[in-house]
């Protein structure tokens, strides 16, 4: 994370399946963070969460609902920049190709966006993005 924060090239991150805890975050500190519509990204697995917070692993379903780990939740929380849509029906192989195409489109447009930016602007944009994570109330 320390080294990634200093990289002078844009980092584009796409959560494609299940991402959780420090490992996911370590490679998740991107200038742009995308997420597939049905992927999840969380502090830890719902099993671990219910076991740590309530000391009751059987409340896993409730944990999954409360944790806000869906792409929509994370977009609302401003943790990710954009949701990449996934087709809800149809042929698997065809859908796979469609998703890959959507991902490619986002990668290319992100690269284009950063093309005109200087190295320090790229580092600063990433810094500010994570600097502002977590809304607080002023007392």
């Amino acid at each position: 994370m320390f080294e990634m924060a200093k990289l002078k090239v844009p980092i584009i991150t796409i959560v494609i399946g299940e991402g959780s805890s420090g490992g996911a975050l370590a490679i998740g500190v991107g200038n742009k963070v995308f997420m597939l519509e049905n992927a999840i990204y969380s502090i830890l697995s719902p099993e671990g969460y219910s076991s740590i917070l309530w000391k009751d692993p059987s409340r896993v379903k409730e944990a999954a609902e409360k944790m806000k780990l869906t792409a929509k939740d994370l977009h609302d929380l401003k943790v990710i920049d954009k949701i990449i849509k996934e087709p809800s029906e149809g042929d698997d192989k065809e859908n796979f190709n469609k998703i890959c195409k959507s991902i490619k489109k986002e990668i290319l447009s992100s690269i284009k966006e950063f093309n005109d930016k200087s190295e320090s602007e790229i580092v600063e944009q990433r810094y500010q993005k994570f600097r502002n994570m977590g809304e607080y109330i002023k007392l």
Binding site: M1, G22, L25, V29, I43, L77, Y127, R131, G134, Y136
Partner: protein, 278 residues
């Protein structure tokens, strides 16, 4: 806590009759040697058991008294509260009752102060407040302190004690790891000294972010330091762990910690290190 039990217990009928005046909450039992210690004695001995040398965890105020020159601490004027991103009612209630009980605003206190006359930015965590877990407020306060250190060109000292990321804030607390880490890259670029002091216990997201990123990482003897807890690791890998695993001494041997410093020597060690790096 044994003290809580003592406080809660009603005086027995027998005691009432005899009218014995037993002071409440003045004694504490050592977790290690089970010796009953007078609290005032413990306080005057840097929260170390006079009988076996066991280190008790320290309240922020005690730590400040120990490390910072008297009358020099100035807390940062940053009065903030969490936005409770997962909208958990029980969390809001818990924070309120903890604030009343501990007299602390949150799990970390940050400000400036002097160590034997040397100006520093200091952050001190407290395990008494939600196990020192890092949520939005802790993340913001640590980041703010790092930025202040850069602005004032001062060395930064953080005393860590934490169970890790604050579960009640979900992924937002995970993001505080990225936030504090990124801020430390700026401190690094500014060429300023950061000394991280690990105390018992330091775990999870705090270990995996700012606590490990000190230019110098010190630890108090026998502190437990790790990412995941031992039970979790054992259950995951299905193997038993080596003796002394995750102790400060084990971490020193494996290069994670630079030096183990006894509590009584911490202030002078910090002072010397600041002097060397001036």
């Amino acid at each position: 806590m044994i003290v809580d039990k003592i406080k809660k217990r009603e005086p027995s009928a027998k005691n009432k009759k005899a009218n014995i005046d037993i002071p409440v909450g003045k004694w504490i039992k050592c977790d290690e040697c089970k010796e009953i210690i007078y609290k005032e004695t413990l306080k005057n001995n840097l929260n170390i058991c006079p009988s076996c040398g066991h280190y008790f965890r320290m309240h922020i105020n005690r730590r400040l008294e120990q490390i910072i020159d008297e009358g020099t601490y100035q807390r940062f004027d940053l009065n903030i509260d969490t936005s409770n991103p997962l909208k958990m009612d029980e969390y809001t209630k818990k924070l309120k009752s903890l604030r009343e009980k501990t007299g602390l605003e949150e799990a970390v206190a940050c400000g400036t102060g002097k160590i034997n006359g040397e100006d520093v930015v200091i952050c001190i965590m407290d395990s008494g407040f939600m196990m020192g877990s890092m949520g939005i407020v802790v993340g913001e306060k640590i980041t703010y302190s790092i930025e202040k250190a850069i602005e004032k060109k001062l060395p930064l000292i953080i005393f860590s004690v934490s169970g890790g990321a604050r579960m009640q804030e979900g992924i937002i607390s995970l993001m505080q790891m990225a936030k504090t880490t990124a801020a430390l890259t700026k401190l690094d670029e500014a060429g300023l000294l950061y000394i991280s002091v690990l105390t018992d216990p330091t775990y999870g997201g705090v270990t995996a972010s700012f606590a490990s990123l000190g230019d110098i990482v010190l630890a108090e003897p026998k502190s437990m330091i790790g990412f995941a807890g031992q039970r979790v690791i054992e259950q995951t890998i299905g193997e038993s762990l080596p003796e002394g695993f995750q102790t400060a001494e084990f971490m020193l041997e494996h290069g994670f910690v630079d030096k183990i410093v006894e509590r009584k020597d911490l202030k002078n060690t910090l002072y010397k290190l600041i002097q060397y790096h001036k």
